[in-house]
Symmetry: C2
Subunit: 309 residues, 2 copies
Amino acid sequence: MMVLLLALKITFLGTSASIPTKKRGQVSIAIQRERDLLLFDAGEGVQRAIIESKIGFKRSMKIFISHLHGDHCLGLLGLLQTMAMMDRTDSLQIYGPNGIKKFISVNMEALNFKLTFNLDINEIGEGIIYEGLDYKIISCYASHSRKSLSYVLKENERPGIFYPEKALELGIPKGELWSRIQNGETIVIKNKTIEPEKILGPARKGIKIGISGDTRPTNKLVKFFKDCNVLIFDSTFSDELQDKAIETLHSTAREAAKLAKEASVEQLILNHISTRYAKPDILLKEALEAHSNVKVAEDYMIVNISNID
Amino acid sequence: MMVLLLALKITFLGTSASIPTKKRGQVSIAIQRERDLLLFDAGEGVQRAIIESKIGFKRSMKIFISHLHGDHCLGLLGLLQTMAMMDRTDSLQIYGPNGIKKFISVNMEALNFKLTFNLDINEIGEGIIYEGLDYKIISCYASHSRKSLSYVLKENERPGIFYPEKALELGIPKGELWSRIQNGETIVIKNKTIEPEKILGPARKGIKIGISGDTRPTNKLVKFFKDCNVLIFDSTFSDELQDKAIETLHSTAREAAKLAKEASVEQLILNHISTRYAKPDILLKEALEAHSNVKVAEDYMIVNISNID
């Protein structure tokens, strides 16, 4: 039996908080899922990071902006311009909070650039904002100084593993019927109805990935990120700067880890790292005291997630 | 006698044409002259290049934008924002073509950021746009698809070398009078008037640096860049793409070199290199056929110029 490898690849294109450093560019996260590229935030320099990581400018792409602070969206303009210069023809969807249409249109006017493709800008609130064939993107309000959004990529549940020996036992010949059962369909053979559950293992949960954007931890986000396989969360500060985290509406690494623990998140990735942590060991240490599976994001770090058993 | 070292340091912060590459960021050139930093263009990523080259965000700084194409000015926004986040207090001057005020103000509104310093934006045409104590910045219209400016930094002529033995011969005691003569003043001693020329060598020309921005070569620019010590010129294409240079209103490396030769420029630096020239050998070769002293700009290349004999 051929197993279709359904892997998700997360590439960190920029991981700094507000100001870039030698090692960290401004925030952007790319998720590649089959042919789709989903870009979460687009800080200054994102087009160069896309070149560096060989992701390409012409593919099927959607961009999700968390909020309209420069370090999260200024790279959008150069990215659009470069796509146009490269004669992209596929339409591009952008999702973000109110104001994003104006941000793009005033700049296209001021910089006098035209696009070679259809740009579809969606000003969104909370809810399912995109529904594909087998995954959704959902948004939820975060708690930050500007109207900010957190995002979740949630794959649909998929039928369980197919057991050929069970199919043969039930007298179902190899061929088209097998595919239909693999897709979770009920079939009828020799006037007998066969439910797919008789041949398939238990249904498999889709992967869930959460991306916080800039935010304080909130109970709302605990629910929103419930059971994420991977959660990428604002971890701007260490414990020592807890006050500053509250004042600037960011989170500490420990707060991110506590939220991840409470939400039963499998793996937490600390992101949006303040320039003061040239070596982020203290962030990792403090987060590991609240959650056992934590990584610190680095530019060009790749995380592959697969739900093949 | 103490000689004050008056050196100019040019740092190439970005050297690509339109689209960045792994090795080349979008256009920006920093000239450091004593305590002043003069930035010519500010493509996306300039703030990171400033960090990389350790130039610093708080110093006395003026920014000159050639034209409002994204690859020449989009880095301005993140730069301003970072300066504000670093609590810059010194005022900052920006010079550029009509529309630059609006470009900055619509973005400050859309991205909701405030500055911690006074920003003085000057929409300029041709002429002397800044006159300091001992140098000027002069602008001249270039020939490109948007209203574009070329710039020249021209130091004032300085008095010649001071010869102490001549001063003593003429009975001028060491002290304050020597300083006044070194500054080119005529002095009176024992009712005798002494012209500085009697004690100083011939006046020394100030350094002249030219920066073309995006442009076709024109006769006007030959005059404008006359006798530059260093000319940084649009060299987007090689001979083979001469038609494309004309169509897109850029220059070939050979055209840049011909113009530099005609303007009696000492050293030509090819800049704004198309992404197609991963190795720019062909550009250098073609330029060297028209001018003997040519370099190709690379990111973080430094050129020091001194007019001390």
